[in-house]
């Protein structure tokens, strides 16, 4: 075994590879409820070339490699399920290029959400990217790889829809480029070349993304969020439909949670607006809160809770402290917007059955084309019983998603099995062939999307 270690030291340098108990302990944990899986090596490369050498070594020695970004997928997707190398990519954190005219950014795979948001605010104030609600440590590429969504999901869709190009190291060590960057020096579009979209949603089982080009969008000087609340969950789909019809809104989220108690059973809508002038803002406000939502207010079905300027950075980590337990995990799904009422009701039942304060959230994707719906289960890391409760609730929720005819977003191994059981057999078989083609020795993040 030591020969692999010595080779790794040669590739990345002694300080960036460890087989010591402390590193193996920390890199065996996901932040959610997934059981720990211990790597044999923790490795932190700095360049694409180092990753190539690591993957060639892994192929020679049949050592599994699990790529790791921020490690915040909360579904164990970056855990070394079969041991081997936990490949921490966060040292590759250079923002390579921002192109104002074509509105795109090229980043290394370790660039974090917080870092990019800050960079754009300081250097390109008229541009923004679709920042997910995950903690700022989450990486751009990692979020891309799981079909993540951010605060521009409505109106512009999944973050993975915003890919302009990828640089990927294949499991066998070659570097490939997809999109315009494969033929030109410009990373401005993913199309029109033959689409070889084999690296998003695969949970890192088909290669390691080392560079990403991503679309950026106009960032207006005034940003803020309006709050609207309704009692009846059945109204949510139609309200979303009407709001999205105005095409005036950035990011539209409906959520409901048991804490604080007064809000339990209520459904809040966070409506992000942005404008470059007070006039534009006033016009949008009137269009949304008077013309579109006015009659809900007058009929007593809904309430307007005001509009506050400036977007507060997402503090989702606070959820991890609800039970003073330093932990939560959620099932994400991609559902039709009209299933919101069932998702809420059935989800609330599961939470209450397991004694967990319910938290559900629906983020609109595109023009109400779909929504990411999540059920969050907090637990107390020091109390295994609550972790078991949360784990059971998560699995039951995975089942619920399929029962409601939806699709699980970034499923862990349990959810993957459910999805594969229902997936079209030919599609499943194609997935198998693709993986065998790209990863003959089965070293790329094994344990994920294992087609039996």
């Amino acid at each position: 075994m030591s020969s692999v270690y010595e080779s790794l030291v040669e590739i990345v340098g002694g300080e960036h590879v460890s087989t010591q108990a402390e590193e193996l302990y920390i890199y065996s944990f996901d932040l959610g409820t997934t059981e720990p899986h211990r790597p044999d090596y923790a490795v932190a490369p700095r360049t694409t070339e180092e990753i190539q050498e690591i993957l060639r070594l892994a192929n020679r020695e049949k050592v599994p490699v699990a790529p790791l970004g921020g490690g915040l997928s909360l579904a164990g997707l970056a855990l070394p399920l079969k041991g081997g190398i936990s490949l921490d990519l966060k040292r590759m954190d250079t923002i390579l290029e921002v192109n104002e005219k074509s509105r795109y950014v090229v980043v290394e795979c370790g660039v974090s959400q917080g870092q990019l948001t800050s960079y754009l605010e300081r250097h390109h104030p008229t541009l923004m990217h679709s920042e997910p609600g995950a903690p700022p440590m989450a990486t751009i590429a990692g979020n891309m790889a799981i079909h993540g969504q951010g605060d521009l999901a409505h109106p512009y869709g999944f973050n993975s829809d915003m890919v302009n190009g990828l640089e990927v190291v294949l499991p066998t060590g070659e570097v490939c480029r997809f999109g315009s960057c494969s033929v030109s020096t410009q990373w401005y579009t993913n199309h029109p070349l033959p689409d070889v979209g084999l690296f998003l949603g695969w949970a890192g089982t088909t290669g390691i993304i080392t560079r990403v080009s991503m679309k950026l969008f106009p960032h207006k000087s005034i940003v803020g969020a309006g709050q609207f609340v309704v009692k009846d969950e059945n109204l949510i789909p139609e309200i979303i439909h009407k709001i999205t019809h105005t095409e005036m809104v950035h990011d539209l989220v409906a959520y409901s949670q048991a804490i604080p108690p007064f809000s339990s059973g209520l459904h809040h809508l966070t409506i992000n607006l942005s404008a470059d002038s007070e006039k534009e803002l006033a016009f949008k406000m009137e269009l949304i809160f008077d013309d579109t939502l006015g009659h809900y207010i007058r009929s007593g079905d809904g309430g307007y809770l005001g509009f506050n300027r400036g977007l507060q950075r997402p503090q989702v980590s606070k959820t991890s402290d609800w039970r003073k337990g330093g932990g939560f995990e959620y099932v994400g799904s991609i559902m039709p917007v009209e299933t919101y009422p069932d998702c809420y009701r059935r989800g609330r039942e599961i939470s209450e059955k397991h004694g967990i304060p319910y938290t559900v959230l629906g983020r609109v994707i595109g023009m109400s084309h779909a929504m990411m719906f999540s059920w969050t289960y907090a637990f107390n890391r020091a109390d295994p019983e609550t972790m078991d409760q949360a784990r059971e609730a998560l699995h039951e929720t995975d089942d619920l998603v399929l029962e409601l005819d939806g699709a699980i977003w970034k499923p862990g191994t349990y959810g993957q099995k459910l999805v594969m059981e229902r997936m079209d057999p030919n599609t499943l078989n194609l997935m198998k062939k693709v993986k065998q083609l790209l990863d003959p020795n089965g070293i790329m993040n094994p344990g994920n999307w294992e087609v039996s």
């Binding site: 108990a21 920390i26 932040l31 917080g114 870092q115 980590s317 932990g327 890391r381």
Partner: protein, 393 residues
């Protein structure tokens, strides 16, 4: 001791390891936890360190040299407490310190920490230098021994023994003399203030140092203290009260600011220089004093004060806190925090990097040399800048 007896048993597991603690306030990079910036492995991040502490205390992992080094690589800079969105953030360093106290009691500390603490036990300073030599820095400066003057000018170990920091101690003494301040020093009678000893977890040794110092100060009739180092300032201000030693204490930049506003210190001579100021953690994040040093610098005509992007609550620690100026667990790389910091200082176009702490002075000056920036950037203590303006050599 088992996890149950650990003072923060009900808090240590609440860390979600979400990584906020690695960022400065403006989120620009993940280098603001100095140990993580140096090693870029999750074990060295604040979250990693808390998880490892819990794992060790609940016997999931054994003690090892590597674990001790990880625990002691934290420089007590409190960036994590500034950034963590969770309610237990006020206790983060306390949790690390309590784990260190457990390692101290079991005798299982890194060799460099053992040396540091033994030298303080025997010689009253971490360098192991003889006590008689502690007052030599003040020879031929006209600074007097303390006998009841208005202020006790407390210098601290680094200022007393480190050759570069001694110059700062001398200059400040002369500036105070020039301003007509009535003060005296303890010279070879001065003992370690214990701030780093406390941070390293040797609680009983800190208690002894504090009690001895309080008794000595009271015997000498000390009324006010002014410190050269924010580390001493922190100990006297926050930790000596429980040993019945609540003396009014000022960091010297606070005194200089008052002297200037009261007209007792004339800085009108001015100095033409573009200066950037580095907030020391024990003055800024620990004690909320961000303005006094800046007010002193801004009072000097001709000084153009430019801010680094990481300033005030977002300052990037020089890597010298928590005993690291001696144990140097974060040294030896271009990612050593001090070297990252001087590179940032250079990008402001400033020719002078102003500091207000002897630890920062030694760490950042070495970093300027290591980065080959001597011709572009010089490290000066705020007192030295004031000294130059007043024509004090």
């Amino acid at each position: 001791m088992t996890l149950a007896e650990y003072k923060y048993a009900d808090t240590i597991h609440r860390c979600f390891r979400c990584g906020y603690c690695k960022f400065p306030v403006n989120w620009m990079d993940v280098n603001n936890c100095p140990a993580y910036a140096r090693f870029r492995m999750e074990t060295y991040s604040c979250g990693g360190r808390l998880w490892l502490t819990k794992a060790w205390l609940s016997n999931e992992i054994d003690w090892s040299e590597h674990l001790a080094q990880i625990l002691y690589s934290c420089t007590a800079c409190k960036n994590c407490e500034e950034k963590c969105p969770l309610r237990f953030n006020v206790d983060i360093f306390n949790m690390i310190q309590a784990a260190r106290a457990e390692m101290v009691e079991r005798g299982l500390v890194p060799a460099a920490v053992k040396e540091f603490l033994e030298n303080v036990q025997r010689h009253g300073n971490p360098y192991g230098n003889a006590r008689e030599g502690r007052g030599e820095w003040s020879q031929e400066t006209g600074i007097e021994q303390y006998q009841g003057q208005d202020y006790l000018y407390y210098v601290g170990c680094v200022g007393s023994y480190d050759t570069r920091a001694q110059q700062t101690a001398r200059t400040l003494g002369k500036v105070l003399l020039r301003s007509g301040v009535s003060f005296g020093v303890l010279g070879s009678e001065e003992n370690c203030d214990g701030n780093e000893v406390n941070a390293l977890g040797e609680e009983t040794l800190f208690e002894m140092l504090a009690e001895e110092n309080v008794r000595k100060f009271k015997d000498l009739g000390v009324t006010n203290i002014v410190t050269l180092s924010p580390h001493s300032y922190n100990a006297f201000k926050n930790d000596y009260a429980k040993y019945d030693g609540s003396f009014p204490v000022l960091h010297y930049t606070q005194l200089l600011r008052d002297l200037i506003t009261d007209g007792k210190l004339d800085v009108s001579g001015g100095m033409n220089a573009r200066v950037t100021y580095h907030d020391p953690c024990f003055l800024g994040r620990w004690n909320g004093e961000y303005d006094a040093p800046r007010q002193v610098l801004s009072a000097i005509p001709g000084i153009e004060l430019v801010e680094m992007e990481k300033n005030r609550e977002s300052t990037l620690c020089c890597g010298g806190g928590g005993g690291n100026f001696y144990t140097d667990f974060l040294g030896g790389s271009e990612n050593s925090p001090a070297r990252i910091r001087v590179r940032e200082a250079a990008t402001t176009g400033a020719s002078v990097l102003a500091v207000a702490c002897p630890n920062c002075m030694t760490m950042l000056e070495d970093a300027v040399k290591a980065e080959g920036l001597e011709d572009k950037l010089v490290v000066k203590d705020v007192s030295e800048i004031v000294g130059e303006v007043c024509g004090i050599g």
